[in-house]
Amino acid sequence: MISNTANLPVSPVPVATGRVPGNKGIWVGICCEFVEFLVLFIVYFVARAHFPDAFHSGAARLSQTAGIVITLLMVTSSFFIASSVISLRAGRRRQSIMWLIAGLVAALGYPLAKYLEIQWNLAHGIDGQSGIFFTVYYYLTFTHMVHAFWGILGILWVLTRHAFGIYTADEHSGLEALASYWHATDIIWLVIFPFFYVLG
């Protein structure tokens, strides 16, 4: 049967609306990142449920100061990079670059703090062989460190482009994409921090 639908009234179907911060590609990457960490979080919960005593005593042996410092650095760099986006959107390009440089400096504090934390751990006899808690701790935090490292490389790339005047108040999707990735990596750390430094 052939039907002519050309003259039928079009029903008002609600269309999903809203902007994509950055670009679609970065959100594919962020979704993959979320899935990867969800799997690792499930590993954490399974291990913690099976060995509650190891997780209780393990958290007490870690340097809580290191966890707090890394969290403050992540949150602060996230804030600086968000400020960079807002400043450029308002037409303040020079200010935007300065915010981005501040974001890079704060972000670089993370691997430095992590290095010092590992030195502290090793000095206190904590390594990957120290038990189930520390195995999960090293695996999850190192994986996050790798993702932060991609983010730092991204900041350097975007900063270079920004310095050459590629981003404008109207078109700065590259800067927004970087910001979205860094904020997502920040959210992941905000989950990891209480896992190992707060919940005992």
């Binding site: 902007r19 979320f34 099976h50 809580q64 403050l72 904020h183």
Partner: protein, 102 residues
């Protein structure tokens, strides 16, 4: 909810306020174990703090409220997953262990 007519913000003030709250929550959460009586209550409060911090970053830094519904929902799911898992494993830990045993 139509989000097309909402323009992304250009004011730094909400970002500063969000950053300040995130810093305060970060400094407060490690003290929870000392301030609160009972392991279960501590776990629930920490779960709540994780959710609040994640939601603040999504709302004010990523501007999730103006984002495409798919992005909004991905963020909502990811941010809610861990707090829900913490509460469930706190109250139904033994059941979870039985499910998660090979």
């Amino acid at each position: 909810m139509d989000t097309t007519d909402r323009k992304p913000g250009t004011s730094l003030l909400p970002l500063v306020a969000t950053w300040f709250v995130l810093i305060c929550l970060t400094l407060i959460s490690p003290q929870m174990g000392d301030w609160l009586d009972g392991q279960e209550l501590t776990q629930c409060v920490v779960a709540g703090i994780i959710w609040v911090k994640g939601s603040l970053v999504a709302r004010h830094f990523i501007e999730a409220e103006q984002a495409h519904p798919f992005i909004r929902n991905v963020l909502r799911f990811f941010i809610a997953f861990t707090p829900i898992a913490i509460v469930l494993t706190t109250f139904f830990g033994d059941t979870f262990v039985r499910f998660a045993t090979l």
